[in-house]
């Protein structure tokens, strides 16, 4: 073997030993098997490549579109106008003195107005 490990040429003795050790049994039969396996394997055509590329991206696009739809629906909900009618209806059911007073109405009066009970709660 080469005495210096710094030698920049292949070590012929060590190389031969390694080749003998690693080549394995029946190399010709092995090569034949690999050739047969490759010959029986179809090459991926361009459409296969394209579909392989497209599949994950189509899924990603579908997920992104779903997320955008959900986001749009969520924004539409949160920016919808306040139900003014309901507020007006409650306010119109309040006894007149609560509307005219500078003091805010008592919770019981608001609850009674919401129930549609026009009588003033007993104080």
């Amino acid at each position: 073997m080469t005495m210096s490990p710094f030698e920049h040429q292949p070590d012929e003795t060590l190389g031969r030993l390694l080749r003998e050790h690693l080549t394995g049994p029946a190399p010709e039969a092995f090569l034949r098997e690999v050739r047969v396996a490759v010959a029986g394997a179809p090459r991926a055509d361009q459409w296969d490549v394209l579909s392989g590329w497209a599949r994950p991206r189509t899924m990603a696009l579908a997920v992104a579109a779903g997320f955008l739809l959900w986001l749009g629906a969520w924004f539409a909900d949160s920016t919808s106008p306040i139900d003014v009618d309901a507020g007006v209806s409650v306010a119109s059911s309040l006894p007149a003195h609560t509307v005219m007073s500078a003091q805010p109405p008592a919770a019981a009066e608001i609850m009674a107005a919401m129930r549609g009970d026009r009588r003033s709660p007993r104080r």
Binding site: T2, R19, L22, G24, L31, V38, A39
Partner: protein, 180 residues
């Protein structure tokens, strides 16, 4: 036809051209896979897997670059993947492949001991050192091709070969001298 021409023919769908590339590089690929996997069957499977991957990707091979590192990188990656998958399994020492070649009993015993020591020496080497050593000393590759295959700088390959040789020399002792 050289490798690039065969690869070009294979890319046009000629399986015989790719078969010739297998003939030219298959055994070197097998040795590299066996150096990585240390198991006969796993190594042969990895080579077959790598060759199939190369066949399917042959039209992406850039003919301006050397074919051998391109192919070997695919095979080496297939072997490294197989190794990751089989890490839990106990690796078995590779089968004895040195022929007795009509050696007398003493020489045969010496050869058997040498096989054992090569096996033990290779088993002790880190994976990348083992690959670099086999590609450099057994296959005669240049540092640049090994660097391209392993995806490391050339200086790193020199370091791998240096350390691997030193370890193998220590493992083999004076036995290898007797086999010349």
């Amino acid at each position: 036809m050289d490798d690039a021409e065969l690869a070009h023919a294979a890319a046009r769908g000629d399986p015989d051209a790719f078969g010739r590339l297998i003939d030219q590089h298959g055994i070197a690929a097998r040795r590299a896979a066996r150096a990585i996997l240390r198991d006969d069957d796993d190594a042969d499977d990895a080579v077959q897997e790598g060759m199939l991957a190369a066949w399917r990707a042959i039209d992406r091979y850039d003919a301006a670059r050397p074919f051998r590192p391109w192919l070997m990188r695919i095979v080496v990656n297939a072997a490294l993947d197989a190794r990751r998958r089989s890490r839990v399994r106990q690796a078995e020492p590779i089968a004895e492949t040195l022929e007795s070649g009509g050696l007398g009993p003493d020489r045969w015993a010496e050869a058997a001991l040498l096989r054992e020591k090569i096996d033990a020496g290779l088993a002790e080497l880190p994976e990348r050192q083992r690959i670099a050593l086999v590609l450099f000393d057994a296959e005669g590759w240049g540092h640049a091709d090994i660097a391209a295959t392993l995806g490391v700088p050339e200086g790193t390959v020199r370091s791998y070969v240096f350390h691997a040789r030193r370890a193998m020399r220590k493992a083999l002792g004076t036995l290898a001298e007797g086999m010349k």
